[in-house]
């Protein structure tokens, strides 16, 4: 049982909860995730860790209430409990000094880029943040990200805040500057978490410039321990498991189209709930 000790609404459909999970908090590292089961009838579903406090024994989870289980999670109140939380799962993000790192978060992916940016900053990197959202009111964690970024850019689809356009437009601008300049160098790493089309677009852009790019994949999972293979992805032509081989993978090696298709596997079942 993991008790919810605080809950904040970040946007109209995105919540942040802080949950008692001392064993998870003790071992948590940036890039890792947990698998939750809300109650007896609930499914097992993964959420990336958005933060943790080892001393208090708590973890932060930020989620968009779009799927059936995330909607149910959003219905829980402070003091309620999540029956089961397993973690931390997956390999932590490889943290080292890359020089300059560009951290890109799209939508609720910003929640997941936060601990990664923090840890990369602590490892001595200059961190450039790029946040993407559909509109200003859907943008989350801008202030928190500022703390760990040397520079922070925002792109919104409708232009209601920051640059009108996509995160890749801003990234392309940064790369162009490096291309034309004699003293600016390419980033040592681009790290991207967000919707599949965003991660795909980022990876395709950086491929041309041979910039190391890591993406954090979000395939469907059940156990999260390498047992069911629901999360299998094609990486460099070979099958890998998102849960135990990832969730971080080389963006230039990922078959994003396959991932998109696999993410739609239960769409009909999901619709059944929405019709209710």
């Amino acid at each position: 049982m993991a008790k919810i000790i605080s809950k904040v609404s970040l946007t109209k459909d995105t919540d942040k909860i802080t949950v008692e999970a001392p064993l998870v908090a003790a071992k948590a590292q940036a890039g890792q995730f947990v698998v939750l089961v809300i109650d007896e009838s609930g499914e097992r579903f993964p959420l990336t860790l958005a933060g943790w406090d080892k001393d208090k024994g708590t973890i932060n989870l930020i989620f968009q209430k779009i799927g059936h289980s995330t909607k149910r999670l959003g219905e829980l109140k402070i003091g309620d409990s999540i029956e089961h939380i397993l973690g931390p799962l997956g390999h932590p993000t490889e943290i080292k000094n890359y020089g300059t790192v560009v951290c890109i978060g799209g939508g609720v992916g910003i929640a997941e880029i936060l601990p990664v940016s923090k840890t990369l900053k602590e490892a001595g990197n200059a961190v450039i943040g790029i946040l993407g959202a559909r509109s200003k009111d859907l943008l989350i964690l801008e202030q928190e990200m500022k703390e760990f970024c040397n520079e922070l850019f925002v792109a919104t689809d409708d232009g209601s805040y920051g640059t009108k356009g996509l995160v890749t437009d801003i990234l392309k601008g940064l790369i162009d500057v490096a291309e034309k300049s004699t003293h600016t160098i390419y980033p040592g790493l681009v790290y991207a978490i967000g919707p599949v089309p965003m991660m795909k677009a980022v990876s395709e852009l950086t491929r041309g410039f041979n910039i190391k790019t890591i993406v954090s994949l979000n395939p469907i999972m059940v156990d999260g321990t390498g047992m069911c293979a629901s999360c299998r992805c094609t990486i460099n032509g070979k099958t890998a498991y998102g849960c135990v081989d990832g969730p971080d993978f080389d963006g230039h090696s990922v078959d994003f189209d396959e991932l998109s298709k696999r993410l739609k596997l239960f769409r009909d079942q999901e619709n059944k709930y929405n019709e209710k």
Binding site: R72, L86, G87, V222, M227, K261, K264, L265, F266
Partner: protein, 456 residues
């Protein structure tokens, strides 16, 4: 005459998940028990991996002392209601039974189940002098057996389970209609009653490490994390939508109860026509589960029915229930539609050639015999490898070339005080062989701790 157990009517059972085998009634059990010759030197006991005193418990049933019979079984076996249902008795105790010479062995499995179903006697909760703390990794048949045996010896046992419920393969793998989950949970309650503590939602290797366990007062660890890594065929199309590993399919339906969707929230998407690839018990389980979800099911196997490793009883049940066996058939490619879902399974016909190292005749492809099986779902049930997570996370834990955890003759791994057994050490096998390994490990751990240098 050997007494057979009653079964749920075929027409009904293909549409529900209730248990197929209904067990003996009282009269049948007494009749069957009376057939036992009570051999002085019983061969059946030697055929039992957990050494149950079979003639003794059968005699007690015959005398109408069912509760005593169960006690007798529980001296050796802490999961009798499970074993009475899923042990391959035909290869073990019943194969060794002297009456098997006349092909009428005692129906030991059904008697074991009878005793355990009649009386759910709980153990007496007398606390013995508390011996050392021992951790068990995994709550499947090997882990539970080792935990229960060590608890009976007086050790303080904590079992760590990564899933949200205890039971391992008994919960996620074996379907409800062969092994009701209530039966498993009742057995686990009895084991808890011995003083065993079970902590779910802890993945050893991530949440805690083996080192954490040894550093926090556990004097020994038994690793029984099972064969959790599904094998695939390595043919094109295996990552298409509606291709499932047996593990995923069974976990969704059994553990997560997708057959009760949407009351239970885990979905399963399996179209209308299902091909299950494989010929073992897991493949047959998958086929029978898919059938109960209302689908047309083919079992695709590259050899013939004779070579299929599944239990005879389960093969017969599957055929009776209407599963089509596509034997001598080898899948070569899974065909997908534009949305990335399965729309066919291309296969090649096989014929049997010379025997291979397993003694079974090796299937060889028949040239130009390719054909497409019209299916929209494929379940791959060709075996599981040991779960590599713990060995990958623990550099000092030595593994064999097949990924199993290396152990010495006493089941100790390359880390002092850490033992291993069951599928993680031997590769995928049966519930009862895992239990046998758990039992042996309990003895080895007791011996190790009794001689131990650390008396604290």
């Amino acid at each position: 005459m050997r007494n057979k157990v009653r079964q749920q009517d075929i027409k009904k059972r293909v549409a529900n998940f209730f248990e197929v085998a209904l067990g003996f009634d009282n009269e049948q059990a007494l009749k069957e028990a009376a057939r036992c010759l009570q051999c002085k030197n019983p061969a059946c006991v030697k055929g039992c991996p957990v050494e149950i005193d079979i003639p003794a418990f059968i005699k007690l049933i015959k005398e109408g002392k069912t509760a005593e019979a169960l006690k007798k079984i529980k001296e050796k076996n802490n999961l009798p209601a499970v074993c009475g249902r899923v042990c391959p008795q035909e290869n073990q105790c019943e194969a060794a039974c002297i009456l098997n010479n006349k092909k009428i062995p005692i129906n030991i499995g059904a008697l074991e189940r009878f005793a355990s179903d009649q009386d759910a006697v709980t153990e007496s909760k007398e606390k013995k002098s508390a011996k050392a703390k021992v951790a068990v990794v995994g709550s499947g048949p090997a882990g539970l057996t080792c935990a229960a045996d060590l608890a009976k010896m007086g050790y303080q046992i904590t079992v760590f389970e990564s899933l949200h419920v205890a039971g391992g393969v008994l919960m996620y793998g074996i379907p409800e209609f062969r092994l009701p989950k209530k039966v498993v949970q009742d057995e686990i309650e009895n084991i808890k009653y011995l003083g065993v503590e079970i902590k779910t939602d802890v993945l050893i290797g991530r949440t805690l490490t083996l080192k954490d366990l040894l550093d926090t007062g556990y004097k020994a660890v038994f690793v029984a994390s099972g064969a959790g890594l599904p094998q695939f065929l390595g043919i094109p199309g295996e990552n298409l939508g509606r291709v499932y590993s047996a593990n995923e399919f069974l976990t969704r339906v059994n553990l997560m109860k997708a057959y009760k969707f949407p009351e239970y929230e885990t979905p399963i998407n399996i179209g209308q026509k299902v091909a299950v690839i494989g010929g073992g018990n897991v493949a047959v389980d998958c086929a029978r589960v898919a059938l109960r979800l209302g689908k047309k099911v083919s079992l695709v196997y590259r050899r013939t029915e004779t070579e299929m490793p599944a239990r005879l009883e389960e093969k017969e049940n599957a055929l009776e229930e209407g599963i089509e066996f596509k034997i001598l058939t080898q899948p070569v490619k899974i065909i997908g539609d534009e949305k990335g879902f399965v729309k066919g399974l291309e296969c090649i016909k096989m014929e049997l050639g010379a025997p291979d190292e397993s003694g079974r005749r090796r299937p060889v492809p028949v040239k130009d015999s390719n054909f497409v099986l019209d299916v929209d779902t494929v379940i791959v049930a060709i075996g599981q490898n040991p779960n590599p997570l713990l060995s990958k996370a623990t550099a000092e834990l030595k593994t064999n070339s097949d990924g199993t955890v290396w152990t010495d003759d006493n089941q100790m791994t390359s880390i002092k005080g850490v033992f291993a057994g069951g599928d993680i050490a031997t590769g995928a096998a049966t519930v009862i062989s895992a239990m046998g390994a758990g039992k042996k490990a309990a003895r080895a751990i007791d011996k190790y701790l009794a001689l131990g240098s650390d008396p604290s």
